[in-house]
Symmetry: C2
Subunit: 474 residues, 2 copies
């Protein structure tokens, strides 16, 4: 997932769950929903309980995990532009049809096609040592034979500016402290151009994670216009710290970096769609979503196989329970998220005309660990209704609402006023595995996935069944 | 470190610190040390406080970490038999002399010389995927081109026996649950021969660790006599689990393993010795120790750079403080521990005649995190004296004593009746990094190392200064 760099998000990340709960609950205490709407929402309790029971204890217990494991073991990582992503999309389309979902189809999206190729980094001085690394998405490669240069190790962009005269011709190594993903990821996204401005020939960036067992993490970077494009890769916390110690001792550090990375012509991909068509207002839509693409390391089980699979499995469960609400529930398995939220952007732009018919949009892309509730953005009134609905999830203890939404693929909708929410889950270890070879099925827990699927199924059903349309902000 | 497989150790590992404390304290309550000995021990409090203050807050604050970082960054991992280990020993001998320690010398030990060479494992069916792996010490290599075979995935030796008819010609993958290091490591140490008995052609063993970010761990294995030697390597938790899932689905698993591993002729190495020679009874000795060799991955900072460096730095600090006790304090930086406690065995055998002069032997090889106290083996009387001495460490909250000793290099002494103890420290994450590329300086904390060095310096000083000899068990 690509997290938006909002100060609000950062602040919210540091406020405890109970604090959130209190804040929102106080606001909701001030809600004055019509009594009949309150009664209507409460009347959905038996249905929600049935959804929860079937998902968590019944016929569908463990199925999200099983289906996800089968999928990620079969395809492995699914980078935008790759044939394996397209094969994975074909597989999902077939599966959606087989489970009787409706209006199953792919909607074309054109994706950038960056490929990693072979890559390596080697410390040559003060001693010879392989440096584990992962090139960053959109990075250029090196010339054949690589780039061999002295390195300068820096802790911050401030230090880069202060020591700008030492930078020309050097490999810049960033050993920035990890504060939070949102604050620290700027070294990955902007580090190459910031260093290139002062004449650096390449950058090696400490991976954006709080914990490492010598594990490099990849991710997307961006070149600023009119700045020389230099190769960019992430290295482990351990090697960044070692190079920093060597530099502090005044040792000469020389490194060779070889990267075959390149950007190939754009390729066609597809957002994957399936629906339960609404019984009364099929044109009105609730969206549940996650992205099918991943980085080209690990299995993409956490980022974002889990999000995609709780979305499709929640529809499968509602269909199997013969629960057809008034409005349409649409699962969208986005494509091309990691490479810049590309699939979602094209889908949302091409569906502008239908935007006013969106009742509620949901996404899961920051983990499918034990769910706590939803992170919401929308009007006060919509939030009051959502909070009331979330009370129905008391049986799985996932009733909380906080602000704002953090779902990258639905952000464009939410920014345009559509009420939207992302899954809020107990994801404290998310960035240990994020964009690394550690993002595998071993991170996912069957029961937690059941709980997440139950939440998505229940909320999407009630939102789609509700007698009133949620007000948009714009 | 190589942990002995004693049930007692296993049980102790699961009993909480406070439970230990209570048990031992009750025993000590029954101690009846002579009043003058109690007073003598209490009289060392000012000296112990001075040692602690100088180590933790004074001139030597942070020096163990700085010296260790300089060492492991300079040499990296130091496998038995390698030239880098011998260079590291030369460096240490030079450093010991420079800091004015006495009787500095190397004592020859002959080490086995196993080399890893290039190695790889590749899943060929049901899809092509690189499998991260680390060959195990003493493993044979594969023929050129490797071994390509179908795999069978097993959870236990019991299942191996039950499915013995399926094993011939296969690669056995062990996906055993991690219970504890001591219980689970038998799959690494014995897994190859157990599988070879039934006709397996190679084994891939889930790494012996509770936590993984796609990190394989290495270590030593042993071939049983008269059983075909087959290649053995560890793979990550993640891949072992994936292969297990594939097998559970009935998928055909085919793997290629290539290992250039081989055993070369034995080479000469050295145990590294330095002393503060005793003022009154130089022939009587207190030993502090850790091992200088490591596996050939990571930096060997935790296993066992930390143990070796708190040992030598504790002598340096005592020397600088001009504290020369009655008996000799000897630092021994063992060689060849990882490959079978080889250096310690040869040293202890060649010093048999002096054994009765050993007052107390100490070792650190299960981490140098925040110290809690010592894990002791010896007579009741010696334990009573130790417990009284440990009370002097109240200023650093490291007063606890538990049983038994867990130091692998001193085990042969302790088994022969010499009172001995290993550092008991807050090492709950030790096996996350153990024998992996994650064993680097990033695991070590400057303050924790200071505390450990203070403990080793204080206890070795008081033991060497004590007016009475500790009774041996035999």
């Amino acid at each position: 997932m690509k997290v938006k760099f909002r100060i609000a998000v950062l602040l919210l990340c540091f406020i405890s769950k109970s604090t959130f709960g209190d804040t929102i609950d106080n606001e909701v205490d001030q809600c004055s929903l019509p009594e009949n709407l309150v009664k209507e929402i409460e009347s959905y309790a038996p249905t929600v309980n049935k959804i929860i029971n079937e998902t968590v204890n019944g016929l569908y217990k463990g199925t999200t995990w099983q289906e996800l494991a089968t999928f990620v073991d079969k395809f492995g990582p699914r980078l935008s532009g790759s044939q394996v992503l397209e094969s994975a999309i074909d597989y999902m389309l077939d599966k959606l049809v087989k489970h009787g979902l409706e209006n199953v189809h792919g909607e074309e999206a054109v994706l950038p096609h960056w490929v990693r190729g072979k890559e390596s980094a080697t410390l040559l001085q003060p001693r010879v040592k392989d440096i584990a690394m992962l090139g960053l998405g959109y990075s250029v490669g090196t010339p054949t034979g690589g780039i061999t240069a002295l390195a300068i190790v820096l802790k911050s962009f401030d230090e880069l500016r202060q020591r700008r005269n030492e930078v020309p011709g050097k490999i810049v190594v960033y050993n920035q402290d990890f504060v939070s993903y949102e604050e620290t990821v700027i070294y990955r996204s902007r580090g190459a151009s910031e260093a290139a401005k002062f004449g650096a020939v390449a950058v090696l960036i400490r991976s954006i994670t709080p914990v490492s067992i010598y594990s490099p993490h990849t991710g997307m970077m961006t070149y600023q216009p009119n700045i020389t494009k230099i190769p960019a890769a992430c290295i482990t916390i351990e090697d960044a710290a070692m190079l920093n110690r060597m530099a502090d001792r005044g040792e000469t550090i020389m490194i060779n970096i070889r990267m075959e990375a390149q950007s190939l012509p754009a390729v066609k991909s597809r957002n994957t769609i399936a629906e339960i068509i609404g019984a009364e207002n099929p044109e009105k839509v609730v969206v549940v979503s996650g992205h099918l693409d991943s980085w080209d390391v690990g299995q993409g089980a956490m980022d974002d196989g889990g999000g995609a699979f709780i979305s499709w499995n929640s529809l499968r469960i509602l269909k199997a329970l013969n629960l057809r609400p008034r409005r349409t529930i649409r699962a969208i398995l986005w494509t091309g998220e990691e490479i810049g939220i590309v699939g979602a952007h094209q889908y949302i732009q091409s569906h502008k005309a239908d935007r006013q018919n969106l009742q509620f949009v949901m996404e899961s892309d920051i983990g499918t660990f034990t769910p706590i509730g939803l992170a919401f953005t929308g009007s006060k009134e919509a939030q009051c209704i959502l909070k009331k609905i979330m009370n129905l999830l008391e049986p799985i203890n996932a009733t909380m609402v906080r602000n704002p939404n953090e779902g990258p693929d639905i952000t464009e909708w939410v920014d345009s006023g559509v009420p939207g929410a992302s899954l809020w889950n107990d994801n404290g270890k998310y960035f240990w595995y994020h964009h690394s070879n550690g993002d595998t099925m071993s991170v996912e827990d069957p029961h937690a996935l059941d709980l997440c699927a139950a939440l998505f199924a229940a909320v999407s059903y009630v939102m789609a069944q509700l007698s009133v349309d949620l007000p948009h902000n714009n």
